[in-house]
């Protein structure tokens, strides 16, 4: 029996964390809603299983997304995760092949060198020792980067790194100690027996030449075991909880579970999956334009995990979705923030460290309301029957040029349309939702739904991406919903709109709620290409910037908003375009004040391009081209 008391701390830590991970997983599973449970079961025994395994390998071990975004940071994460994984895997194989017997307890693989110090002298054994040394060197290279990053984050290409709490610091120190102590322990043992490969062997012989290696090795084996044990014991209360949680998250996500708009077990899993890597901080415009560095999603997740009052963090956000796009774990950060905004701001009770091992399910207490309808004053409006319904939205009324342009386009298309909010309409409800007032928003949604239903329209066109997003996600409408860029694209494709080509250089700014929020990237650009020379900006598609005028943020001041807008505008107009085109009245309004370039909505540009006298079309051709509105769809 090969045993030594120093393996006890490691064994305690290892079995604790294994049992803990199982208990937490069972708890999460039982807290999932019934449909989600079924999804997870189906996913576990279906094709999602393979996809999950692949994703775990690519993302949790290799860290492909981080590598793509930032090689040095990715290398750091990869060397620690993948390197450690390889070390355990090959260590187990080593213990199995070269050990005294097969099927060893885990500690045999981890402390193989201590129990088999004479191993690795010749032949295949030496090659294997070389491989093990190579893996250790791989991990240590990443560890050096990690230590440097803690003190100077610029080295790994990060402008900001996350700030830590006390348990995090202890866990981090023990994590940092694991591999150097293994290196020194193995080297000293190798030095005594004259074994080891290029790393442990050479270092061992050097150390053994002037140190009493035989006596020193044992304390370092103790240190190695202790740091492993400490790390495992502290893991549940630190950010390293993301290591086991992320596995669960990947399985759940591949099984089709989504955040939705209710808080629950899946939200909690995502919260614990955040590794506080800090990539969201670098992606955030509030960080690089206004220097606000304490409200990014990593801090929101940390605040929720630590049961802190995150009200200020939750509301100080543009809700542009850039962090969702960059998050290497793929956490749905903006939906979680939306859920959090509904919570009442309360001072959370102080929690002991022990209770943080088994936290209650994260519960969000919705803001109290008195139950009376808030919008009893809503007017009685009758809508007339129509085929196409145009809903301009509040913001479009503030930028009448867009409204006029849309009327011009609708008139030119010859379609049978009605202007729903010609005399000013009722808000779509999304601003209220962004402020966490879902109940009030629902009243507006019901009101507007009634209007749209009464009109019997088949197509609902809106000019405002904010309205578009809420119509798409929170209204239950039986109409084809279109943003005006999609509508114009359809008119062009169907040849219902004849346009001239304007010889103008145009750049396109994708609004957050239309692009990242609703996934519409191509139609606006297609329309622009049809009428002007569209140029790339370097911030295209899902990489687009926020204009800063977002209704999502109620905390930043007018000056800070302007700073974000000015930075975004100057980044977009670097190529000196003649027009900065956008598809959102709010973006237009925000950009107009901060740039000298002409800012115009796509509808305005298209209205400008409408041929003054429709090209000579023969009557029968027109009839062929123009389908009766009743035949639409």
């Amino acid at each position: 029996m090969q045993f030594d008391p120093f393996v006890i701390p490691f064994n305690i830590g290892l079995y604790f964390i294994l049992i803990y991970a199982v208990v937490r997983s069972v708890r999460w599973f039982s807290n999932l809603s019934r449909p989600d449970k079924l999804r997870l079961q189906r996913g576990f025994f279906g094709s999602a299983f393979g996809r999950s395994l692949k994703e775990i390998f690519m993302e949790s071990l290799i860290h492909r997304k981080i590598l793509k975004a930032n090689f040095r940071l990715g290398y750091m994460h990869m060397s620690l995760a993948f390197g450690w994984f390889l070390l355990i895997l090959f260590g187990t194989i080593e213990a199995d092949i070269f050990g005294t017997r097969h099927l060893n307890p885990p500690y045999k693989a981890i402390f193989f060198k201590f129990f088999n110090p004479d191993h690795g002298r010749t032949g295949f054994e030496a090659v294997y020792s070389f491989l093990m040394d190579l893996i250790l060197a791989f991990i240590l290279s990443g560890l050096i980067l990690a230590v440097i990053k803690r003190f100077s984050s610029k080295v790994v290409g990060m402008k900001k790194t996350t700030k830590l709490k006390l348990p995090d610091k202890i866990a981090l120190t023990s994590l940092w100690l694991i591999f150097p102590s293994r290196l020194i322990a193995e080297s000293l043992t190798s030095g005594v027996y004259g074994t080891g490969s290029f790393l442990t062997g050479s270092l061992g012989s050097v150390l053994a030449s002037f140190l009493p290696a035989n006596q020193l090795a044992y304390p370092f084996w103790w240190l190695y075991s202790l740091s492993l044990g400490t790390f495992f014991l502290l893991l549940p209360v630190t950010r390293y909880m993301h290591i086991p949680t992320e596995l669960f998250l990947i399985f759940a996500r591949n099984s089709g579970i989504r955040t939705g708009d209710q808080s629950g077990a899946f939200t909690e899993i995502q919260t614990y999956s955040c590794s506080s890597c800090g990539i969201c901080i670098d992606a955030c415009q509030l960080n690089f334009s206004t220097g606000i560095t304490n409200i990014q999603s990593a801090y929101l997740m940390k605040g929720i995990r630590n049961n802190e009052d995150v009200n200020d963090i939750a509301f100080n956000c543009l809700m542009c979705g850039r962090c969702d796009r960059y998050c290497p774990v793929g956490i749905e950060l903006t939906p979680i923030r939306m859920i959090r905004r509904r919570a009442e701001s309360v001072e959370p009770p102080e929690k002991s460290l022990w209770s943080r091992y088994f936290p209650d399910l994260i519960k969000i207490v919705n803001t109290r309301s008195n139950g009376h309808p808030a919008f009893s004053w809503l007017p009685q409006i009758k809508t007339e029957a129509t085929e196409v319904l145009y809903y301009a939205g509040c913001m479009t009324h503030l930028t009448p040029a867009i409204k006029k342009a849309m009327i011009r386009i609708l008139d030119a298309s010859g379609m049978n349309y009605r202007f729903l909010d010609e005399a000013g309409g009722v808000c779509c409800g999304r601003p209220l939702m962004l402020a966490g007032k879902d109940k009030e928003a629902r009243e507006l949604i019901n009101f507007n739904s009634g209007l749209i239903r009464d009109s019997g329209a088949r197509i609902l066109v809106t000019s405002c991406p904010i309205c578009y997003k809420v119509f798409r996600e929170s209204y239950y409408l039986e109409v084809e919903l279109m943003h005006h860029t999609q509508f114009i694209k359809m008119l062009i494709d169907e040849d219902m709109l004849r346009l001239r080509f304007l010889r103008k250089k145009v750049v396109y700014h994708a609004p957050c709620d239309l692009g990242r929020g609703s996934g519409i990237y191509d139609e606006p650009k297609d329309v622009l290409r049809h009428v002007a020379r569209l140029q790339p900006t370097g911030f295209d598609d899902d990489d687009s910037l926020c204009c800063g005028g977002s209704l999502g943020n109620t905390r930043i001041s007018y000056r800070q908003k302007n700073k974000i807008a000015a930075d975004a505008a100057s980044a977009l107009t670097k190529g000196n375009p003649e027009i900065l085109a956008t598809a959102c009245p709010l973006c237009k309004k925000t950009f107009t004040t901060v740039t000298d370039t002409r800012v115009a909505d796509i509808a305005e540009i298209v209205a400008e391009a409408i041929a003054p006298n429709p090209p000579e079309l023969k009557k029968h051709v027109v009839k062929e081209l123009y389908r009766e509105p009743a035949d639409m769809i």
Binding site: M395, H397, L398, G425, K589
Partner: protein, 114 residues
């Protein structure tokens, strides 16, 4: 002749001694831009709710600053938070946050004696 002379019409008098300005103070503490409002009324002119009702953010500002909170309590709920007022404000007052803070102050029953 006994009806001759000056008199105070009670309904038109602002009694700063008995009025409660705590809500205005709560709002300006959390949103300092509330103080720089010049009561020009652009917000009320642009208002979506004001299109249908008598809702006026300008009026609310004035009432709160006087400490006449009674009238505000019901009015403030009418806002749809669409944000047009923020965009038209010539002083850069963060009006959406002002409205949210007023609602919060009433909900929390910040020392509201009136």
């Amino acid at each position: 002749m006994d009806k001759f002379g000056f008199t105070l019409v009670k309904g038109r008098r602002i009694d700063y001694d008995s009025n409660d300005r705590s809500i205005a103070e709560y709002v300006s503490a959390h949103e300092p831009s509330f103080r720089i409002c010049i009561e020009c009324g652009c917000c009320s002119a642009a208002c979506t709710t004001g299109n249908f009702t008598q809702f006026s953010l300008r009026e609310i500002q004035i009432l709160l600053k006087r400490g006449e909170n009674d009238g505000v309590r019901d009015k403030i709920k009418k806002c749809m938070l669409c944000g047009k007022c923020t965009l038209v404000c010539p002083r850069g007052v963060n009006t959406r946050n002002v409205i949210l803070l007023i609602q919060e102050a009433f909900r929390k029953n910040i020392k509201n004696a009136v």
